[in-house]
């Protein structure tokens, strides 16, 4: 069966060129970067070259990049690290209600430790208001953490404006940019960002490696204590091949970012237009223009998202849903609920996230394949009066 992958916000395939740069470090260049001999120096040089590549992509200094084990670790490091390091100054954190679990659950953990957290609301497009950030900051606030672009609906936050607010109030500003790096232009200085999380496997790099940008002068306690790696900011023998892969992946992503963004935006609009023309009761979730190029989140009324995913998977199309029916009381996506999307509408949401390999032919295949799946599920759904299943089936 032909397989179409449209779940790039979950993970991306490794670029061939990235794999090639990694392989030597999985073979003969196996040294520990802390060793003082030839093998160690080879590994050290590779890591520092990767640090430059990542720093260049963000408009940062190489020293300001800390390699981590994943995006989740970067988020944990930023939030817990700043909270712990500034306990004598304050105990308040400002974040949004649409963050990824890596940020949300870290904040919840800190709440249980006695910190106070403000979860800012969003508008119907999933946008945080910079004024709301300003209004939430108190003299006890030690950190603001607002994601760059949302993983489910793709909405891009007003990062520069929030950065400006934080700068004026002297509060450290962290952004989870895991979905944004390599897709949107980012300059940490222009944006007033103090800390930024990124992950390699979202940008055609390997899994198991990420990075955290930490502006010089920002204090954060480390999560991992031990050796002196990463300027004592993250003890652990470095994942050399992974770091090399992250550096190369970031460099390549930024290289063709503008043209790829244009191409993916066109594919995204083609997909939405095609689906909206063929299927009734369809809503787009997220901002229609201030949105990640390849991300499209759509609610199909009267049907449940996971059933759509299964139907599409059986037809060879891989997508995901904000709905997860995994417990006795399945909760629809917290992001969609925060945006004011009706719970039933949120249950029927599907996220298409397009990437490098996707073509117009792939989009057209989905536009052809999905309408009969929705029709079939609606015909057996208890939620809406529909023609009987057999009538629908024989009409196809």
């Amino acid at each position: 069966m032909k397989r179409i992958y449209m779940d790039h916000n979950a993970t991306t395939p490794l670029r061939e060129a990235v794999l090639e740069t990694m392989l030597p470090y999985l073979r003969d260049q196996f040294g520990n970067a802390s060793s003082l001999h030839f093998f160690g120096m080879q590994a050290r040089a590779a890591i520092e070259a990767a640090r430059e590549q990542v720093a260049t992509a963000l408009g940062a200094q190489p020293d300001e990049i800390v390699f981590t084990g994943c995006g989740t670790e970067s988020d944990n490091q930023a939030i817990k690290g700043v909270a712990w390091a500034n306990r004598d100054r304050g105990n308040h954190i400002v974040t949004s209600s649409i963050e990824h679990k890596a940020v949300m659950e870290t904040c919840r953990y800190l709440e249980a430790q006695g910190f106070q957290v403000t979860y800012l609301p969003v508008d119907r497009y999933g946008m945080v208001s910079p004024d709301a950030v300003a209004g939430a900051i108190t003299d006890r606030t030690v950190l603001v953490s607002v994601m760059f672009a949302n993983n489910e609906v793709g909405t891009i936050q007003p990062i520069a404006e929030i950065g400006q607010v934080c700068r004026e109030r002297g509060v450290t500003f962290h952004t989870d940019a895991i979905q944004a790096v390599g897709k949107l232009p980012i300059d940490v200085t222009d944006l007033g960002v103090d800390m930024l999380s990124l992950s390699a496997h979202k940008l055609y790099g390997p899994k198991g490696v990420g990075a955290l940008y930490v502006r010089e002068g920002v204090h954060a306690d480390p999560l991992l204590h031990g050796g002196q790696q990463e300027g004592r900011r993250r003890a652990a023998t470095e994942n050399v091949a992974g770091i090399v892969g992250l550096g190369k992946a970031t460099e390549l992503q930024v290289e063709d970012m503008a043209s790829e963004a244009e191409r993916l935006t066109a594919l995204r609009e083609r997909l939405y237009a095609g689906l909206a023309a063929r299927i009734d009761h369809v809503h787009r979730n997220g901002h229609p223009t201030r949105c990640l190029p390849g991300t499209l989140d759509v609610s199909f009324e009267y049907v449940e998202g996971e059933a759509i995913i299964l139907g599409l998977d059986l037809a060879g199309v891989a997508v995901s849903s904000g709905s997860a029916c995994t417990s006795a009381s399945p909760e629809p996506s917290h992001v969609l609920l925060a945006m004011g999307v009706e719970p039933t509408s949120a249950q029927g949401s599907v996220r298409f996230s397009l990437g490098h390999e996707n073509t117009a032919a792939d989009v057209d295949y989905v536009v052809e394949t999905l309408p009969p799946i929705i029709e079939r599920l609606r015909a057996m759904s208890v939620l809406t009066p529909q023609p009987s299943f057999h009538e629908t089936a024989s009409a196809q």
Partner: protein, 143 residues
């Protein structure tokens, strides 16, 4: 030994590829879909906001389920469960239909991922509600 069970548990939850062929068959080709318009009993379980809702309609003659149809709003497992549950009770005496448990349904589907076990309760609940509705109507008729 423990580890093996542990990994097995994870394997089952990781994706649709871990649904049995039987589940996929009932999802793709559900039996007894629809609503009996002049039903003798109607049962509904679940709620739309929870993303899982099953409606069962039955036609009863001489205490036997002559016909049964379902409509389900829910995930693939919920649809497959509803479908096979209607097959299990169709033609059965009411008392036997009431004995059909969610375990029977799961067995008939050749297993379900652990995270989907809760879905199996929904069909059982809807069937019991439909039979109770029928029995209620009968009682009211004889009064």
């Amino acid at each position: 030994m423990t580890l093996k069970t542990h990994i097995g548990g994870y394997q089952k939850v990781t994706g649709f590829g871990f649904y049995s062929d039987k589940v996929i068959d009932h999802f793709q080709n559900p039996r007894n879909v629809g609503k009996i318009e002049d039903a003798d009993g109607v049962g509904v379980a679940g709620s739309e906001s929870c993303g899982d809702m099953v409606q069962i309609t039955i036609k009863v003659r001489d205490d036997r389920i002559e016909d049964v149809k379902f409509k389900t709003y829910g995930c693939g497992a919920a649809i497959a469960i509803s479908s096979i549950a209607t097959e299990l009770i169709k033609g059965e005496m009411l008392e036997d239909a009431l004995q059909v448990s969610n375990q029977d349904v799961v067995e008939a589907l050749a297993g379900l991922p652990p995270v989907k076990m809760h879905c199996s309760l929904l069909a059982e609940e809807a069937i019991k509600a439909a039979i109770a509705d029928y029995q209620n109507r009968m009682r009211n008729d004889t009064r």
